[in-house]
């Protein structure tokens, strides 16, 4: 950038070419009528740090664009209707079979419309990638503490986007009205009906009568292509706006502070990079879609409530809910007079509900525990927040165990195990896994912090042994330079909050809980190395 400013006087002396004059005129024309230059000035100077993990949200955005494009193509051919028709397309093993118009039109899209199958596969693979990249993006935000003030609201909006993406995925998965999606829908119907008192009413409202009815595909279609995308795009807009207002976080290196952002501006460098990146993502998705089959509805056949195939699973992002249901031990039912309370369905729903609510409000929980009201623009290295990282690892293992449970039958057949044993082991892991993950992660973080501290104080072992004139042997340690050391020593040092009386001179139960939580958060900690530590004699000498 600086070089281009140096050259500017030289170029301005030249007569502008015809092209330059046209660009100038056009830009002026637009600006005089829209005052867009203010916006461009603001947005154009938005800085993006250049760490790979900061591009995951972009991956989600670009796969969403791919989804919109391919989805629009399919709306031209898909019929969201459950009217029964006799299939008469090209796929022989379904010829003459009765199915809904939705299924028949999806088959036509797959076999008889040029490019239709590719578009279907692009849409579905992009959807899987969309949700996966949102998940990974959220993990990055969580483990670097980028959800702290002032970004808590954006975390919640991002979380909402994740839920919307899953809802989009599930409604889309149900549209073709094939056997697999029908079975998935039946499970959702069961989940809804498991809610005491209102469950059956909600189910009848959703399906327009007894499952499966003749309405659900039409209703899901409206949700899938109109309502949910509209909310999603709006939330996405707010998400991006807050991203610009809050600015990006960055990792601590010399020259990067809590008060600046170092990176490349949108205009022109980042815009060019991002444009290229979009086409790379698009290319990867199309490559996958053209080489690998996804959701072969022609094999599943039309939906019929009686057959259920072995190995019936939802798409990966709903897997954790399916797994939670599979892990419920037998006999969890309660009979209250004439009513049966299906705890085997209701409890997993409640547990999952609590889990996602905790995820959604985690920034507020942590802010309350730490009592930290400052703004944070420096991303934490995960090891420097051991308790948070351990909580994250516990949450990830809780999710992953439920996720694995959704494929318990495939684990059993492919590893030649008994499905009962697989289920029992996963049940135990659901409880033990998060505990083990919590303890191990916390210890690993503390150990890494100790290692960092050791290196900051004493430098690296050089492997060079020197014999002193007095006969003593010492190993020479190589000192870090200031830049390297900065990365190791610059992080926040929190201490447990003291239990203090509030303004009225009373110690409330809330304060007590907070002190205990704060103690749990920060009692095991490695203080960052200070300048005095380094300069103290005996350090950094041998």
């Amino acid at each position: 950038m600086s070089t281009s400013t140096d050259e500017r006087p030289a170029t301005s002396e030249l007569e502008p070419t015809r092209g330059q004059r046209f660009t100038g005129w056009a830009a002026n024309y637009v600006d005089e009528r829209t005052s867009i230059s203010g916006l461009v000035k603001e947005l154009g100077r938005k800085i993006f740090p250049d760490h790979w993990s900061f591009m995951l949200g972009e991956v989600a955005l670009y796969s969403f664009i791919v989804i919109l494009l391919s989805g629009t193509f399919m709306t031209f051919f898909f019929q969201a209707s459950m009217v029964p028709v006799l299939y008469d397309g090209s796929y022989v093993p379904l010829k003459g079979i009765e199915m809904s118009a939705a299924m028949a039109s999806t088959l036509d899209l797959s076999f008889d419309i040029r490019g239709g199958l590719l578009m279907r596969q692009v849409h579905h693979w992009a959807a899987l990638l969309f949700v996966a990249s949102i998940g990974l993006h959220m993990l990055r935000i969580f483990f670097t503490g980028a959800f702290r003030k002032p970004r808590e609201i954006n975390w919640v909006i991002g979380f909402l986007l994740f839920i919307l993406a899953m809802a989009e995925g599930f409604t889309g998965y149900s549209l073709p009205d094939d056997l697999l999606s029908g079975n998935g829908l039946r499970i959702i119907d069961g989940l809804v009906k498991g809610i005491p008192i209102i469950g059956t009413w909600i189910s009848y409202l959703l399906f327009g009568g007894e499952f499966p009815g003749e309405d659900v595909v039409g209703r899901f279609y409206v949700l899938h292509i109109l309502l949910l995308p509209a909310i999603l795009v709006a939330a996405l807009g707010v998400h991006m706006l807050l991203l610009v207002i809050n600015k990006h976080t960055q990792f601590a290196v010399p020259g990067r502070t809590n008060d600046n952002v170092v990176g490349v501006p949108i205009m022109p460098v980042f815009a060019a990079k991002a444009g290229g990146f979009f086409f790379i993502i698009f290319g990867v998705i199309v490559l996958i879609a053209s080489l690998f089959q996804i959701n072969p509805i022609w094999t599943y056949g039309p939906y019929d409530p009686s057959p259920v195939s072995a190995g019936t699973q939802p798409d990966w992002y709903i897997g954790f809910a399916d797994g939670a249901l599979r892990l419920v031990p037998p006999g969890w039912e309660l009979e209250l007079g004439p009513f049966t309370l299906s705890l085997n369905v209701f409890i997993p729903v409640v547990v999952l509900g609590l889990f996602i609510v905790v995820v959604a409000i985690y920034p507020f929980i942590e802010a309350w525990i730490t009592g930290d009201k400052r703004e944070h623009h420096i991303a934490d290295r995960p090891r420097n927040a051991p308790t948070r990282t351990a909580i994250g690892a516990a949450g990830v293992s809780f999710y992953a165990v439920m996720w694995a449970a959704a494929s318990s039958d495939l684990i059993a057949t492919h590893f030649k195990l008994s499905i009962e044993n697989v289920t029992h082991v996963i049940q135990a892991l659901l409880i033990l896994g998060p505990i083990i993950a919590y303890i191990v992660t916390k210890r690993v973080c503390l150990a890494l912090q100790k290692k960092d501290r050791e290196i900051a104080l004493h430098g690296y072992e050089s492997g060079r042994i020197v014999r002193l004139p007095g006969g003593e042997y010492i190993e020479v340690h190589e000192q870090l330079d200031e830049y390297e050391r900065w990365k190791l020593v610059s992080y926040e040092d929190y201490k447990p909050l003291m239990l203090r009386p509030n303004a009225k001179g009373r110690i409330t139960a809330g304060e007590r809980l907070r002190a205990r939580a704060s103690n749990w958060f920060f009692e095991d900690r490695i203080a960052p190395v200070t300048r005095t530590d380094i300069e103290k004699p005996g350090h950094g000498e041998h």
Partner: protein, 275 residues
């Protein structure tokens, strides 16, 4: 047809001419027919007797072979008189189809006790399997090896597919990729199962499989199912590589490991500082 009619047209006047002249005895035709009938009947009797003698000799030899093979390989568990022991069920009345399936796919003789007999390389030649099947069938009537007409794979694939989804897919998966049962048992993948073994499995219900007798699913419908299985086997997967036909689990693993893996690799490459 055309030639035939021409000939008969041409012959008609001749025969009428003969009758008019009356050169033969009226009973000559009858006698001639008698001679012809006795001749063919005798010859037929002669040839068929000798044929039966040959087949029965061959069948006896086959039964002998079967008995010997059975005594050497099966009797330890199933008993010398096929009566069954505490280790294995009786084989009286299981029929040739059961033997052809179990031995012909290598499931029997059992390699080791376990949740269920697993497929392994076949231990006997086709003749030996046939001998064992004939021997077991001779000890009690049971389902026979299906006739070729049902094994051609020329039935109605659409009806077969529907029957497959209703009757088979809950264990074998809609794409025939197999599935888990209780206690380590499983429904095997159907990709490489021959038509005759698939038919035999339906009529005999090996391992944990239920029996689908002819009242349940007619032989024609079994042929339709086999047609569908053959279609699945022979038609290349539409839309690219099928990832094992395991549905959303393999798709999810693929997008996380290879899809997102590739994209993270690209992000690292894009943000890498040039050396």
């Amino acid at each position: 047809m055309r030639n035939g009619t021409k000939d008969s047209m041409a012959n008609k006047p001749k025969t009428s001419a003969r009758r008019d002249r009356g050169r033969r005895h009226p009973l000559a035709t009858v006698a001639l027919i008698m001679v012809g009938l006795i001749g063919t009947g005798g010859a037929y009797a002669l040839f068929t007797t000798s044929a039966t003698a040959e087949t029965s000799a061959a069948a006896d030899a086959q039964l002998d072979d079967g008995a010997k093979l059975f005594a050497a390989n099966c009797a330890t568990c199933h008993g010398m008189a096929l009566q069954g022991t505490t280790q294995a069920p009786s084989l009286i009345g299981v029929g040739a189809a059961a033997v052809d399936f179990q031995v012909g796919t290598g499931r029997m003789p059992l390699a080791a006790t376990g949740p269920q007999a697993e497929e392994k390389p076949v231990q006997f030649t086709e003749e030996q399997v046939a001998a064992l099947a004939a021997y077991v069938a001779s000890k009690g009537p049971g389902p026979a090896i299906p006739s070729e007409e049902y094994l051609q794979g020329d039935g109605n694939a659409a009806e077969g597919a529907e029957l497959f989804r209703i009757n088979c897919a809950m264990c074998h998966n809609v794409a025939g990729a197999g599935g888990a049962l209780t206690e380590g048992k499983f429904a095997p993948p159907l990709g490489d199962v021959t038509a005759v073994h698939a038919y035999e499995a339906m009529i005999t219900g090996p391992q944990n499989m239920p029996v689908f007798n002819d009242a349940n699913i007619s032989p024609e419908d079994k042929a339709n199912i086999i047609t569908y299985l053959k279609y699945l086997d022979e038609t290349p997967s539409v839309g690219g590589y099928g990832l094992g036909d395991l549905g959303p689990v393999s798709e999810g693993l693929f997008i996380w490991i290879f899809g997102l893996g590739a994209i993270v690799g690209i992000t690292i490459w894009l943000t890498a500082k040039s050396n």
